[in-house]
């Protein structure tokens, strides 16, 4: 009898561990939440880990899910055991190949971390919409409900696919299962081998296309035979349920874990049952056991094989006492009578009436849990209650308040299932403070080294900077089936004291619970610093409060701002989950294991931090009464519209679950300009301005990724009532009069503290060269005065856009940004470009934004950085998908051109009835620069007034479309993953279209949003996911490909290297009446260095020649000039001077110094060859040359 090996891992890893062992080819494309399965597989293969056949599986990243499924199809047709991992839209992109794979009876398993589909909005979270969207493809749909089941079913599905020849889609709930960390029993190599029948593998290989035994597949069939051929597979589907059950039985004999097509749980004489699949089934099982232990007679069916639906087996799994069934679907099919599982159950009952051992039961179906909406025992109890009714509500929704069509079942949110055997701990951390990592480590320690079951689930907010993470950890001697967030905690840790200033976090604490707070305040001061509500909770619930100044300890121990080890030590010290000494010993053991290979220094530093944590931890003596007058800081600040206050405010306060259906925009339309209300105060330090040192260049304004630094020039008379500390200085430059003052102001509450502004500032203090014209200081002491100064700044008159020279960097930065305070990472390299575009063209921009970082910091609820100017104009923004963005944007152009043409036609038709000179001017006005556009806008305003009073019907129509007489600027924005890979086909088509669109590629050289997978833009020698040893190939030269069209405006820019050239590129691209593409170097956290040096690195990238900067302007050709402007002079520093300042390159040296030197050599050659390529182009287009 083997000793079971327990491992503590998440669902994605649990699946990857099996899939990598039983496949030969793995073709993938990253998509949340399935990406880690591909990444784990790549890691195993890069470590040369073999599958059960003794080879290392080939893991290959494709350009899209469509591509991945094509490669899978090809590999399957060539006889390899092949798999892929995906989710959501990714799965939808695979549909065409899924038909082919199933139609050709090809055994494979697609592992899907099931996720919502983008409809009124995108969601990365879990439900079954994607899986239910491929029901028609011919794949068997097979659901696992927990991490252990995901591990087991990955194997069972493969065995059944091989035997049945039907491809399987094995799915489990995105995030709830894919990202839940749980203690599971690991399958042994022997079990894996025993389940995979070698003869079936041989049979699969024998069916491969081979010139040694050639056959033809993929024929084109005609009306005479297609139908019959399509029906020829029926017997395989009929045979599948039995085959699957046989494999489940075989698995049970090998592993001891028994599964069935439908697993019934509950009272043998149950009258009411629920039917569902996925992680929600765990919560239902927990509730069923709870209710039955208290005398109820309820049950449930866990559906394993959702398709083909084995109707008779289903009927036979039902208790004979059955009276009522509720079917739960985690999906939505608008307009359908019900969702798929409901339909299947209904059909099964109807079609098998003859064999029903009971009278036809009451049957209802409904929806729950869309986009990982919580599914709790309270909801389950409510549903069982509903089944007691004679006429229970059918087509219900559960978990929301539908006050529009009244589908929802009411439930008591205060009803919390008591789980006395569980120890439940909740931790509130900051994304960057290491809290989640430490908690994962804690679960591993407890789950692996003790006999506790352990579960960890982690909730992240949508911001990329200053985001809050909430860790939910459960430990128990009994199996944990609570597939929902902790509602009643024995332990609550607040790793950032600032959270308690904004949120009532202690509501979650059980009476008598232990609280741990990381606070800068000493013992004697802490109580008084708590808000009133925090004090009330502590007293009312009789909480014990412990605290530590973890940041001080971390600082003193050389750990910077990483407080993970410190807070983890405190948790172990006071939670009592393990005996104190044993706990500390285990932490140290874990540190040794994690850092041992990285040297004694890191191990020692962490050991010392552990000891110092114990030394500095203190318990707060709780006074008898509430004394605080501090109230919670409201989530939003400012002059709020009701919608913003009620809806966006609730989401911001983490209370979005309370919003009703009627409060939601039905078509996904949201107001812009809302980020300004969300004063996040996340910066520890903010910049302050030194007017005496400042040279008024506006570089800091241009560089600021969050638009928190603004400058303006105003007449000194406006500054008379300036608040204290508001600084200004006589404006430099001939343009400004002597009584005009230049000022810089900082939105201290919106700053993320990245310090990029300080690094780009070219001015040094003449007496202290370590100071610049802008310097970082602690935020807190600046906050109140900073707010006053900022408000005053906003009240100053705006500079006249039409009088500023837009092509001067300095003056362009006086333009109001219509993109501000985004949730992008501190120091983001993308947002300065977006902000620049919004300054130059924002009031007439319409933006198609590819899915990725820019769509997340641009359009993730609750707030958006896109805003309107004081005239109510601003960028209109939308995200369609990841892959179609160029086409989406082209659609904008086609429509706008059509509208414009329509408006011009109507105007011409009405010529006689309107002010003729005005119409002539409107129709012939050039709209190239700002004064011209401003003039046209004024003319159109006059026209509107005329039209309002005009009796003609055509005038009313013209009034609707006359805004299109003012030039609109179409922008297509996305990252390199979109432009180089998944969207390239569309992008290429749009470039070839000749249409006036502006494409901005924010090139970080990796898929940033999904966690740093390589793209075709990735530099040689850079480490990225799927290029773990450093990318060996050359990056694609997208610019050169675009130049080949000759009628496309192409610019490659780097704001940090040449801001003036970058500005020119934006202006020229926008003016060019045809397709334009700007490829913008964007530094990124995935590069692995402190982003305050981002612009310095941009300069180095250009100086070493790896990022050539230039502009190719076809307009110049028309005027006899050279269209090619090189904005750099070729490589002038060693590539190493750029590369080895970033971890992505430097780590190769630490992995394989031979590869590292070879990469350096290739990079240097690339730099030289790029310069040659672009200087040759410059030479080729010399006008003289052309004349020859």
């Amino acid at each position: 009898m083997h000793q079971p090996e327990y491992i503590t891992i998440d669902g994605n890893e649990a699946v990857a561990l099996v899939a990598h062992k039983i496949n030969e080819v793995i073709a993938i494309y990253p998509i949340t939440p399935s990406s880690p399965m591909g990444e784990f597989s790549d890691l195993y293969s890069s470590r040369k880990e073999e599958n059960i056949f003794g080879t290392v599986p080939t893991v290959y990243e494709m350009q899209s899910e469509g591509g991945a499924s094509g490669a899978v199809h090809g590999a399957l047709q060539s006889g390899a055991l092949t798999t892929t991992f995906t989710a959501s839209q990714g799965l939808l992109l695979m549909i065409p190949n899924m038909y082919k794979i199933a139609g050709e009876l090809t055994p494979t398993v697609f592992h899907v971390a099931s996720r919502s589909l983008a409809a009124q909005g995108l969601s990365i979270f879990g439900d079954h919409q994607d899986v239910m969207g491929v029901r028609q493809s011919g794949f068997a749909l097979f659901a696992s409900n927990s991490v252990q089941e995901a591990h087991d079913f990955a194997l069972i599905s493969q065995a059944a696919a091989l035997k049945s020849r039907i491809p399987f889609l094995h799915f489990f709930d995105g995030f709830r299962t894919s990202h839940e960390v749980s203690r599971i029993e690991k399958l042994t190599e022997a079990t894996l081998k025993a389940m995979i029948d070698e003869e079936l593998v041989h049979a699969h290989r024998r069916r491969a296309l081979s010139p040694d035994h050639p056959v033809l597949r993929g024929t084109s069939q005609n009306p005479d035979v297609y139908f019959q051929a399509r029906e020829s597979v029926n017997r395989y589907y009929l045979a599948l349920p039995k085959i699957l059950q046989e494999q489940m039985d075989k698995f049970a004999r090998l592993s001891g874990r028994s599964y069935h097509l439908f697993d019934y749980v509950g009272a043998a004489d149950a009258q009411r049952i629920l039917v569902l699949m996925g992680s929600g089934a765990e919560a239902v099982e927990e509730s069923v056991r709870y209710l039955n232990a208290r005398g109820e007679k309820v049950g449930m069916i866990k559906v394993r094989l959702a398709l083909p639906f084995a109707a008779e087996t289903f009927i036979r799994s039902l208790p004979h006492t059955l009276k009522a069934i509720a079917v739960l679907d985690r999906t939505k099919e608008p307009g359908s009578i019900g969702e798929p599982l409901y339909h299947d159950v209904l059909s099964a009952l109807f079609e098998h009436q003859a064999i029903l051992p009971f009278a036809m039961p009451r049957l209802i179906g409904g929806r729950y849990g869309l986009s990982s909406k919580e599914f709790t025992p309270a909801m389950i109890f409510a549903l069982f209650d509903e089944l007691n009714h004679e006429s229970p509500k059918n087509h219900f929704t559960l978990g929301i308040d539908d006050d529009v069509t009244f589908t929802s079942l009411k439930f008591d949110p205060h009803l919390i299932l008591d789980n006395p055997d569980q120890f439940q701990a909740v931790f509130y951390g900051l994304g960057s403070d290491g809290t989640v990592g430490a908690n994962k480590n804690t679960i591993k320690i407890i789950g692996t080294e003790t006999d506790h079951y352990a579960q960890g689930y982690f909730v992240y907010d949508s911001k990329k900077s200053g985001s809050m993470t909430v860790s939910h950890l459960r430990f128990s001697h009994e199996p944990i089936r609570s597939s929902y967030l902790i509602q009643n905690a024995d332990f609550v840790a607040v790793h950032q004291a600032v959270f308690l200033e904004k949120l009532d976090l202690l509501t979650i604490a059980k009476p008598g619970a232990i609280i741990l707070i990381n606070t800068p305040y000493p013992k004697e001061e802490l109580w008084q610093r708590c808000t009133r509500v925090t004090q009330e909770r502590i007293l009312a619930k009789n909480l014990r409060v412990f605290a530590i100044d973890a940041y001080r300890v971390a600082r003193e121990k050389g750990m910077g701002r990483r407080i993970n080890t410190i807070m983890q030590t405190c948790f172990f010290a006071i939670s009592g989950i393990l005996p104190h000494d044993q706990a500390i010993e285990k932490i140290k053991g874990s540190i040794q294991k994690t850092y041992g290979s990285k040297g004694d220094a890191i191990v020692q530093m962490n050991f010392e931090a552990v000891d110092a944590s114990l030394h500095n931890l203190f318990e707060l003596s709780i006074p008898a009464n509430v004394s605080s007058t501090l109230e919670l800081i409201p989530p939003l600040k400012g002059d709020l519209q009701p919608f913003v206050a009620e809806v966006i405010g609730k989401i911001t306060a983490y209370q979005g679950d309370q919003l009703k259906v009627s409060q939601m925009p039905e078509d996904g339309t949201w107001p812009t300009g809302t980020a300004q209300y969300e004063k996040r105060n996340i910066a520890q330090e903010v910049p302050i301005w030194d007017p005496d040192t400042c040279i008024q260049c506006n570089k800091c304004v241009s560089a600021c990724p969050h638009s928190v630094i603004r400058s303006t020039v105003v007449n000194a008379s406006f500054l008379e009532n300036a608040p204290e500390g508001f600084l200004s200085k006589t404006a430099k430059g001939k343009k400004f009069a002597e009584d005009e003052h230049f000022t810089i102001s900082v939105a201290v509450e919106d700053c993320t503290g990245c310090a990029l502004c300080v690094e780009v500032c070219p001015a040094k203090n003449k007496s202290q060269t370590n100071l610049k014209a802008i310097n970082m200081v602690p935020q807190r002491p600046q906050r109140d005065s900073g707010i006053q100064q900022w408000d005053f700044f906003l009240s100053l008159p705006k500079m006249d856009r039409s009088k500023l020279e837009h092509d001067s960097l300095k003056e362009s930065q006086f333009l109001e940004p219509l993109f501000e305070f985004s949730g992008a990472c501190p120091g983001c390299g993308e947002t300065p470009y977006i902000k620049l575009a919004s300054q130059l063209f924002g009031d007439r921009m319409v933006i198609a934004n590819a899915t990725g970082c820019s769509s997340i910091y641009g359009g993730n609820l609750p707030t958006t950085p896109w805003k309107k100017n004081s005239e109510g104009r601003g960028p209109a923004w939308s995200n369609s998908l990841f892959e179609d963005n160029a086409e989406f944007g082209l659609g904008f152009r086609l429509a706008i051109d059509n509208h414009t043409e329509y408006a011009r036609t109507l105007l011409t038709d009405l010529y006689e009835t309107l002010d003729a000179p005005l119409v002539d001017e409107i129709l012939s006005a050039p709209q190239i620069d700002e004064p011209q556009i401003d003039a046209q806008r004024r003319r159109v305003e006059i026209l509107k007034e005329c039209l309002k009073a005009h009796p003609d019907k055509a005038a009313k129509t013209l009034l609707e479309v006359c805004d299109y007489l003012v030039k609109k600027s179409v922008w297509i924005i996305g990252g390199d993953g979109w432009a180089y890979d998944i969207g390239y086909g569309g992008l290429d088509h749009v470039l070839a279209s000749g249409k006036n669109v502006n494409i901005l590629v924010l090139d970080t050289q990796v898929y940033s949003n999904t966690g740093g997978q390589q793209s075709k833009a990735t530099f040689t020698g850079a480490v990225a996911k799927f290029a773990a040893g450093g990318k060996a190939g050359l990056p694609k030269d997208l610019a050169a490909m675009a130049i080949n069209y000759e009628n496309v405006y192409v610019a490659k820019v780097a704001l940090g290297a040449n801001d003036q050239a970058t500005l020119k590129a934006f202006i020229e691209a926008e003016r060019y009446d045809g397709p334009s593409i700007i490829i913008a170097y964007s530094h990124c956290i995935a590069h692995g260095y402190d982003l305050k040096f981002g612009f310095d690195q941009q300069k180095r990238a250009v100086d070493c020649g790896l990022w050539p900067i230039f502009r190719f302007n076809p307009d110049k050709r028309k005027s006899g000039e050279n269209p090619m402007s090189l904005d750099y002079k070729g490589p002038k520093i060693d590539v190493k001077e750029f590369m080895y300042r970033e971890t992505r390159f430097k780590m190769v040296e630490k992995m394989n110094s031979l590869s590292a030197s070879s990469f350096l050599k290739t990079a240097a050659e690339t730099a030289a060859s790029l310069y040659e390529r672009y200087s040759n182009l410059h030479h080729r287009y010399e006008p003289l040359h052309e004349e020859e």
Binding site: T435, S597, K1146, K1150, M1151
Partner: protein, 331 residues
């Protein structure tokens, strides 16, 4: 004619060594140096920072953004297989050099703090280095740090490294001590088997455009030889250790002067950086030519012949030579 000499117990075919520099960073250039007659090479330095700081830095940037966002639990493949995290490839390099050349190879460690990194010395020995040089120049910027504390740091580091190895240990000294001779003595007592006279630290300059200090390589000339000669001469025969002259060796004459002052051998970088590996051949020719002309049989014959204890003009090395100069001026 016998050009051989002994340093750190190692027999050298002549007194010419290549100091730690980029030229001793690749096997190819080390082989070229050997072909041109170099007697030993001191490998390019492995810095304490490379062993400690870089790991910390890489570890930091690999993990700093982990688990902060639902879509990206990490941004770089964090569990990469680091087989060179602690610059283990340096060891591999020494192994390869040792296999490919027949001259002694001296490994070089550059650092000052006593700590875990010194255990790296054991690995260097195991990889085949014939001796180890410790390059420790510390710039004490704290006004509260007294000279004795600084000296103790040096001595602790030397003692700790010495504990790790059985191969000879050379300490590359700098002249910035109140009593360099006494410091030399204490370094030898702490475990140094030989001293390099002296280290030639990176120079500081200021960029007036950037208003920023610059670090620039200190390219020497023969004019820099003075202190080297003085302290070789002073230390000769006073300590049970070998000496090599390091700063300012550019010509055959410079080598001869250094040996006569008391150095067992000489080492140089600037010369090689300026003229390439062929400069070694020219030096050897120059030395041979001079020795032939003046009828010297061997290097050992001239070693220390003009040292403090063997010179007829000891005052040249002492303070009173300065006094003498002033007196001359007064006349």
């Amino acid at each position: 004619m016998d050009l051989s000499t002994t340093l750190l117990g190692l027999k050298l075919k002549n007194p010419l060594m290549a100091s730690a520099s980029p030229l001793t960073a690749s096997l190819e250039s080390i082989q070229r140096l050997e072909d041109n007659g170099i007697a030993a090479v001191i490998m390019h330095s492995l810095f304490e920072e490379e062993i400690n700081h870089e790991i910390g830095q890489i570890d930091h940037f690999l993990h700093i953004h982990n688990h902060a966002n639902a879509e990206a639990l990490s941004y770089l493949p964090g569990e990469a297989d680091f087989d060179n995290l602690q610059s283990d490839h340096y060891l591999e390099e020494i192994r390869r050099v040792k296999e490919s050349v027949s001259i002694p190879v001296i490994a070089s460690l550059n650092g000052i703090s006593a700590g875990g990194w010194v255990s790296y010395a054991t690995k260097l020995q195991a990889s085949g280095a014939d001796a180890l040089e410790l390059n420790i120049t510390y710039i004490p910027t704290s006004i509260d740090m007294d000279g004795r504390a600084v000296e103790q740091m040096y001595l602790d580091t030397v003692a700790q490294v010495k504990q790790q190895i059985s191969i000879p240990l050379n300490v590359k000294m700098n002249p910035y001590f109140s009593s360099p001779a006494n410091m030399a003595k204490r370094l030898v007592e702490a475990g140094a088997d030989g001293l390099g006279i002296f280290d030639n630290p990176i120079r500081v300059d200021i960029d007036l455009e950037l208003l920023s200090p610059l670090r620039i390589p200190n390219i020497t000339s023969s004019a820099n030889l003075s202190e080297t000669l003085r302290w070789c001469a002073i230390l000769y025969k006073q300590l049970p250790c070998s000496l090599y002259a390091n700063t300012g060796i550019h010509t055959a004459e410079d080598v001869l002067k250094a040996i006569m002052s008391g150095a067992d051998a000489t080492a140089f970088t600037s010369l090689l950086l300026q003229h390439g590996e062929k400069a070694v051949l020219s030096l050897l020719e120059g030395i041979t030519h001079w020795m032939e002309k003046y009828e010297y049989d061997s290097i050992s014959q001239m070693k220390g012949s003009i040292s403090l204890i063997h010179t007829d003009n000891a005052s040249a090395y002492e303070r009173n030579s300065y006094m003498h100069a002033l007196q001359q001026y007064r006349h």
